[in-house]
Amino acid sequence: MIQQFKENKDKVFDENGIELYTVRTDKFKTGSINIFFVDNLNKSNVTKNVLVSNLLKRGSNNLKSIKEINLKLEELYGAYFECSIIKKGEWQIMQFYIDYINTTYLNKNENIFDEILEFLFDIILNPYTKNSIFREDFFSGEKENIKRRIDSRINDKLGYSMDRCIEEMCKDEPYSIYEYGIKEDLDKLSEKDVFDYYKNYFIKQLPIKVFLSGEFDELNINKLILKLKNIKRDKIIKLNKPINSINIKKVREINEYFDVNQGKLAMGFRMDTDYFNDDYKSFVLYNSILGGGIHSKLFTNVREKESLAYYTGSRIDKYKSLQLITSGIDIDKKEKAYILIMKQIENMKNGEISDYEYNAAIKSIETSYNYLKDTQYSLIDFYLSQVLLNNDKKIDEIVNEIKTTKKEDIKKAAQKIYLDTIYFLKSK
C-alpha cells in the first residue's frame, strides 16, 4: 500500500559540519543519495572546485576509468551517478548524486544499497592518484573539458544573454562569477595544487549536506552515518550570507554582437528586500504577475497582443534579490519592446492589477510548490535551499503566506524594484 506522502525531512545526524537529512517516501520506484559540498562563491576557489568534481568522477583507486565506473553502475541495475556544479546565490555547490532502483522491482530481492554506498564514498574519498597527486592525463583532459564547457556558453543565446546581463550588473560582487570556473585560471593550476586543495580544504573544510530519499530502514541510515563519521574533518568554513546592495547611479546599457536572426533583450533589476524579510512574498507575487507565466502582463501584452516576441518572461533569484526580464525579439523592435515592458512595470507601480492576474498568479505559485512534492529531486533541491537559508517553513506554510498577500502589498513591493542594467544581443 502506498502511504500518504510525508512531506518533510528529518535531520538524523549533525557532526563536524556534516548534516544528514532523510526524506522517506514510497511513491517513487527509486531511492537516491545526494551529497552537497557547499563553498562561498569566490574567484580563488571556483575553478578548483570544478576541477575537483570533474576529476573525482574520472576514477577512483578501485574503479580506475569512466569505463570501470560505468560497468559498476550497470551491474547495479543502471544506477545513475553524476557530479554537478550548482550556483545558488553566492554559493557554489558541488553535488554528488546517485539514484538506484528499489529492491521491490528486482527479481531476487537483491539488496544493492550497501554497494551503492561503497561506490559513492569510493568516488568521493578515494580518487585515482599517481605519486599521491591527480593523474596528469586526467588533469589535462579535464582542463580541456572545462574550457570547452565555458566556451560553449555562447551556443545557447538566451542563457548567454541572461548570464551576461548578470555579469555586467554584478561586476564587483561574487554573484557575477561563472560557476564553471575561470578559463584563464585553468592553466595556472597544477595537479599538485588541486590535489592539496582537495585533501586539505575540499574534503576537510567545506560544509556537507547529505540527503537520503526513498524507502530505507534504520540499518541503512546507520550505515550511511558510519560512512559520514569516517570522513576526516578540520575546522569548517563559515558560509556567507549573500550581499544585497542597491547602489545604482545610472542604468547601464550593454550591446553585444553575434551572427543571429533574433535579438535577445535582458533587463536586470534590483529588489530592496531579501528572502528573510516579511515582504519577500509580495515580490514573489509581483514577479509572477509581471512575467511569471501565461497569466502575466508580459506574456499577455508583449507576446499575445503585440506579437512582438515569441517568448518573454521574468524570474527572481531568491538568494540574491534580483529580477531578470528576458525576451526574444526582432532586432529593429528593441525600442518598442523596451517601452512596452517598462509600461507594464509602470502599471504594476500604479497598482493596476486585475483580479484575474492576482488570482491566477496565486494559483500558479501554489501549483508549482505542490509539483515539487512529485519529483524526488525537486523536493531535495527545495529542502537544500531551506537548509542553506536556515529556514524551517514547510511548503504548505509558504503557500499560505502567498495566499494572504494583498494587492496593496504587491503595489508596495513594486515601488522597491530598480532597473540596473539593460543588455541587448543583436546581429553584427
Binding site: G141, R148, E304, Y356, T367
Partner: protein, 428 residues
Amino acid sequence: MDRIKRYKYEKINEEVLIYTHSSGLNINYIPKKGYLKKYATFSTHFGSINNSFKVNNENSIKVPDGVAHFLEHKLFEQEYGDVMDKFSILGADPNAYTSFSRTTYLFSCVDNFFENYELLLNFVQHLYLTDKSIEKEKGIIAQEIKMYRDNPHWRLFFNLLEGLYINHPVKIDIAGTVESINRINKDILYKCYNSFYNLSNMVITIVGDLDFEKIIEYSEANLKTKNDHYILENIYPKEPKDINKIKIEENLDVSSPIFQLGFKETELPRIGKGSIIYEMGISILQEIIFGKSSEFYNEMYEKNLLDNSFLYDYTVEKEFAFSTLGGESKNPELVRDSVVSLIKKLKKNRISREDFNRTKKAYYGKIVKNLNSIEKIASMFNLVYFRDINMFDYYELYDKITYELINDVLDLHFDENKIVLSLVKNKS
C-alpha cells in the same frame, strides 16, 4: 460491447484502464496513487509530415509546410478569448506541441482536474478563426521560426534529416518557413482541421490519482457523439532506402563544432507489439557500442574527441525511423570514421555475451525509472499509441530480448552505407 479494458502489470506495479468512446477514440487512464499532479493529453495523428492527403477518396490536397503547427497555435484562441487564461484561472499549466506525426494538447494541474479536462475537450473540438487573428499569428510564428534558426542544435538535427531523406517530409522543419506560413489561410486551416481532428484519429491519455468513473462521465458529456463516416489517406512520396547526402555542414556561432551522425532505418518493423523488441534491441545496442562503459566512448574521451555532451537516441514512428549519436567534438569526421570501422569490426566479431547481459540488466533499471514521472508516462503512452502499442508492453516484452536478436539488429540497422554526418561549426 465491452468498452472498458483493464490491464494490470504486476512486475512494475502499474495498470492502465482503457475506455473506448463510440467515435472510436480511446481514453487511456494510468492511475498514480499518492501523486498530487494530474496530467491529461489530447492528441491527433496530424503532424508536420502530413502535408498531402485525401479524404473520402476526393482529390488529393497539398498544404503549405507548417500548417499542423499553425493550427496548434490557433486552437488556443476561441470566441471567448484566450484558452490559456481559462486554464490559468483554474490553476493549470496548459501546453501544446507539434511533432512529425502528432499534435498534442495537454495540461497539468493539482486542483480542479475535471473543470480543466472539460476545457481541454471543448477547445480542441472547436476551431475559431478570423482573418485578423490568422495574420497576427503569422507574426508570432515568424519569431519562433527565427528563434529556431539561431539554435545550432535544431539546425544540426534538421540538416541531418535532410541528409537521411531524399523525399520524405520528415526533413521539413516542423514550423515551416516564414514564406510557407504566409501562404496559410482560413480555408486551408479548416480543411486540415476537419480532416485530421476527427475523434477516430485521436487519443486521450490521463495520468494521476483520479476517479475513472468520473473520467468516463466527463468524457461522455463533452466528446462529440456524432461521427461522420470518413476515410483519411495520407500520401507520402516514395522514399528510397538510400540516404540523400553523406555530409551536411552549416556555419553558425558555436564555440566548438557540434555534430550528429544518423543511421537511416529501413529494415525493421515499426508498428505493433512485435516492433518493440527491435526498438529496445537498438537502444541496448547503442548502450553497448557507444555507452559510457564502452571501449569506443572511453577511447574517444581520452583522446579528447568526445566529452560529456555525447548522446545517442533512436526515433521510431509509424512512417519512419532513424538512430542518432552526437555531441561536441574538435574532429567530427574522425569520430565518424571511428564509428564506421567499429561497426565493421563488431559485425565480424559479434557482440560479447557478457556486455549484452550486463547492459540488458542496466536497461531495465532505466526504463523502470521512467515510471517515476507522470509526464514521461503520458508522453510515452502518446508516442507509441499510433504504432498500436501500449507503453507497458515494453516491460512485459523486455524478457524476450535475446542475444541473437541483438546481433541481428546490429546487422540490419547499423549499415555503414546509410550513415550521415551533420556538422555545425564557426565560419573562420
